[in-house]
Symmetry: C2
Subunit: 203 residues, 2 copies
DNA sequence: AATATTAATTTTGTATACAAAATATTTAAA
DNA sequence: TTTAAATATTTTGTATACAAAATTAATATT
């Protein structure tokens, strides 16, 4: 089957999404179709579609860049903890040897890399575990949450959370030893700590 | 804050969604913007938007009415079981007395009502439990799954699944007695049975 | 000065036109 | 009769116009 290009839509979707994710469009900003269209160099139609799409993905709410409250974050993490906890348990059972190697590599980079590298490694760590479920529906649901969580990534990178990498290492080990229950619990605690850290920064 | 109407969009969105859910647009059908627009009596623009929305909600995939495979259903239910299982546990802790009454009423109707009433009561049963989480994000995620699952509701109603109401009753009782762990396990088993029944019918 | 009304402006929702892309159909070649 | 190429048709993507709705600014009234 042939892929369709939709270049104007792609361009505007990626532009707006990236502007939101890297903070150039701060949380709470009102998005105006015509302004964006002119800025991007396309008509309103694809911009409109992009906004709607991002609305469905949770990055935009009522034409504004989403601005999650503490409660919103807690709700989000309640679901995230359930799903990624399951994923960790699943990884302990199904993760392939080569992926386990990459998981360890992520931990290593977490200790020795620069800010940019650490951020990428952290994302990769969680992604490897989520992918191990081989459940596209679950992967998609989790990805949707991450796009909101990533709104905070700059803030979180500046204030490095203590023990983050240690926790990753523990999870990694539990997975390597096929201890599903333990991996699940450790992941839950890990994410809970992430949440509290996020909320702490929010104030 | 003032609600906006968007009458053409609302009209076309609801029209298309309902046509899909009640089977008048069978699974796999290709949707053509212009045909639908004329049928509904609006222009292509709101129809387009409706299709995109329904695509995000999972009822449409690549311009066609979604047609889930057995694997798709299993993946979907894996997530559903996690989330609704959690919701049942949560209900055992937090469900208000009046909602428990309604839950019991759903069980009663499940035994004595006609097909239409039973269907509504079943939906309500699950909804009450899901709502007890008071987590809009979780509620929304689950709702999204239900819209796909409801594609099968006609088929499922014709072939009444045995023990369905008994299981509801057991869950209801566990919740009433604040036995969270039990309620969670019963809900998981209940949904697993639902899944197997769905898949059995699919063939 | 604060509040309510009205008017001006911005922004969005919808319809429409047209070109690009995808699909279906016909014709030609093996 | 099958396969390939060319053509015609349908369908989608994008731009644009215009009216409805929402927002903002200005005016009048207390």
């Amino acid at each position: 089957m042939i892929k369709k290009s939709s270049i104007a839509f792609k361009k505007s979707y990626e532009y707006i999404r990236d502007q939101i994710l890297n903070g150039e469009l701060p949380r709470g900003t009102k998005l105006i179709e015509e302004k964006l269209a002119e800025e991007i160099g396309v008509s309103r139609t694809p911009v409109r579609e992009s906004i709607r799409r991002l609305e469905q993905e949770g990055l935009i709410q009522q034409k504004r860049v989403v601005n999650p409250s503490e409660t919103d974050l807690r709700n989000l993490f309640q679901v995230r903890i359930l799903l990624e906890g399951f994923a960790a348990r699943s990884a302990a059972q199904f993760l392939r040897e080569e992926d386990l190697g990459e998981l360890r590599e992520c931990v290593r980079i977490g200790r020795s890399g620069n800010a940019e590298e650490i951020m990428t490694a952290n994302e990769r760590f969680h992604d490897l575990i989520v992918q191990s479920t081989h459940n596209p529906f679950m992967i998609d649901t989790i990805a949707r949450m991450h796009s909101i969580i990533y709104l905070f990534r700059k803030t979180v990178v500046y204030h490095k959370r203590p023990f983050l990498i240690d926790e990753h290492e523990q999870i990694c080990q539990a997975i390597a030893e096929h201890q599903g229950e333990l991996a699940e619990r450790l992941m839950q605690e890990h994410l809970q700590a992430d949440l509290e850290f996020c909320i702490h920064l929010l104030k």
